[in-house]
């Protein structure tokens, strides 16, 4: 039995999770809503980390479990590793507040 190499948790997701360490250039088959798609991985993706199923523009939502898990902090290409280097949380961000306040003052 060929072990699946990546999993997509919901058909609305724009990221997949690697079930094994993936190398740059590897072509991975993923199942989304019963259909199979191929994605070429553009960078090394460690076991358990995510890669993009489609291009995600800077500021665009990153979706897993069919829900928003954060926002892209730069353009992310289909097949690229998706993690803390290019995604930020939208919640409980105390570090953003002083910035917002100073914006409000000007």
């Amino acid at each position: 039995m060929t072990r699946r190499k990546a999993i997509v948790t919901h058909e609305d997701d724009n990221v997949a999770s690697a079930l094994t360490a993936l190398g740059r250039g590897e072509v991975v088959e993923v199942e989304i809503g019963g259909s199979l798609f191929e994605v070429e991985v553009l960078s090394d993706v460690p076991f358990g980390h995510k890669f993009a199923l489609m291009d995600i523009p800077r500021g665009g939502n990153v979706v897993k479990y069919g829900e928003v898990i954060g926002r892209a902090t730069r353009d992310i290409a289909r097949g690229e590793h998706v993690h803390v280097h290019n995604v930020e949380s939208l919640r409980a961000r105390g570090d953003l507040r002083p910035h917002r306040q100073s914006q409000n003052l000007t």
Binding site: P46, V62, V68, G70, R91
Partner: protein, 383 residues
């Protein structure tokens, strides 16, 4: 579905522990010596109980009473210093409504005397406890706590969904499932609120999450590194939203029937949320005080700890963790990760193990004795 447990006035215990409990940090040494002389007794020591704000003193008293009232506890020796802010008499009065409780105070005649008298009392309680016998009990008597720790991406994909299915079965059989970890609802609360049995329950859930998020924001920092933890991030979890959405899978799909405060005794049947922190020790302490007799704990990277009075069943969907940390993992769910086993079959395995543990089988944490610590989650300063 059935298990075999100890009938108590306030529920069915799955363990039969005699507990030596300090009322305050300053009495911890005396309690530890008494427990050391009685290896069958369980030691519950902590650092709270004095020089705290009145709400925290009341909270510590409540948690100590509720830990003692847990049906897994046969009887209790309270070890007091004598001048602490919490009242040993008040705590003992409330425990005595359900079981035998005795008190020794170090300030009466010093450590040696307290240890000698305390040890005699505990020896007598252990003899009484040995006469207790297990009886068949229905699954509806179970309060199952579900918790995740040292999570990685497998938690949200494998172990939490499998435990979620177990939660649904327990609730379906008339039992109770308690979950906590308010921080780990941030970003997923809207999903749970839709499952609330009433508007009031939904409101209380959302208020608890708002409160913890407001406190995080007030610190003026990005939570990352704290939540998700550095280990979570290494394990592939990017944001608190992703962690939360994976975490709530362990609650299954039942209606949320109640929201309770930290360490409150849970009285509702069905799925109940306890407002509590995500950190293991404080979280397990709150759930044990809530009355959980057994806990299901999912882990990705490998969280080894149990709890002194409540068996904690560890399950993991990470193949490397199940292999490297086999001595800590009770149920290996890694076949689910690659689709070799379905969620339903895995859930039946976990439920089977849970019922065996409830009926007396020792967990890995119990066998290893990796179950010594508790900590009461207080809000205010030490004063």
């Amino acid at each position: 579905m059935e298990f075999s447990g100890y009938a108590r006035p306030n529920g069915v215990g799955v363990r039969n522990h005699v507990v030596v409990m300090s009322t305050v940090g300053c009495a911890g040494d005396a309690a530890e010596r008494i427990a050391r002389l009685n290896p069958k007794a369980k030691l519950l020591v902590h650092t709270q109980g004095c020089s705290q704000t009145p709400p925290d003193i009341a909270l510590v008293e409540k948690v100590l009473v509720n830990l003692a009232l847990n049906p897994n506890v046969h009887s209790v020796l309270l070890v007091s210093l004598g001048c602490e802010s919490v009242s040993a008499d008040r705590i003992a009065d409330r425990i005595s409504e359900a079981k035998r409780v005795e008190v020794v105070r170090v300030q009466e005649r010093g450590l040696s005397d307290a240890v000698s008298r305390g040890s005699d009392l505990v020896r007598g309680m252990c003899e009484e406890a040995e006469r207790a016998r297990r009886e068949t009990a229905d699954l509806s008597e179970i309060k199952l706590a579900v918790k995740c720790g040292a999570s990685d991406f497998t938690s949200g994909i494998v172990s939490n969904p499998v435990v979620g299915r177990v939660s649904d079965i327990v609730v379906g059989e008339g039992g109770t499932v308690i979950f906590g970890e308010t921080t780990e609802l941030i970003g997923a609360e809207h999903v749970l609120a839709k499952r609330a049995a009433s508007e009031d329950v939904a409101r209380r859930l959302l208020e608890a999450v708002e409160d913890v998020e407001r406190r995080a924001i007030s610190m003026g920092v990005d939570m990352r590194g704290g939540q998700p933890t550095a280990g979570n991030i290494r394990g592939g979890i990017t944001t608190i939203e992703e962690k939360s959405l994976g975490a709530i899978c362990k609650t299954g799909s039942s209606r949320l029937v109640d929201v309770v405060g930290y360490g409150d005794l849970v009285s509702s049947k069905g799925l109940v949320f306890m407002d509590s922190p995500g950190r293991e020790i404080e979280s397990l302490t709150g759930l044990a005080a809530g009355g959980a007799q057994v806990m299901l704990f999912t882990t990705g990277l490998g969280a080894p700890q149990g709890f002194p009075t409540v068996p904690v069943v560890k399950v993991s969907g990470n193949p490397e963790t199940c292999n490297k940390l086999a001595e800590h993992i009770d149920v290996d769910l890694s076949p689910v990760l690659h689709g070799e086993e379905g969620v339903e079959g895995a859930a039946r395995r976990v439920l089977g193990e849970t019922l065996e543990v409830a009926s007396g089988k020792a967990t890995r944490a119990e066998l290893l004795g990796y179950d010594k610590f508790l900590n009461i989650y207080v809000r205010g300063p030490v004063i």
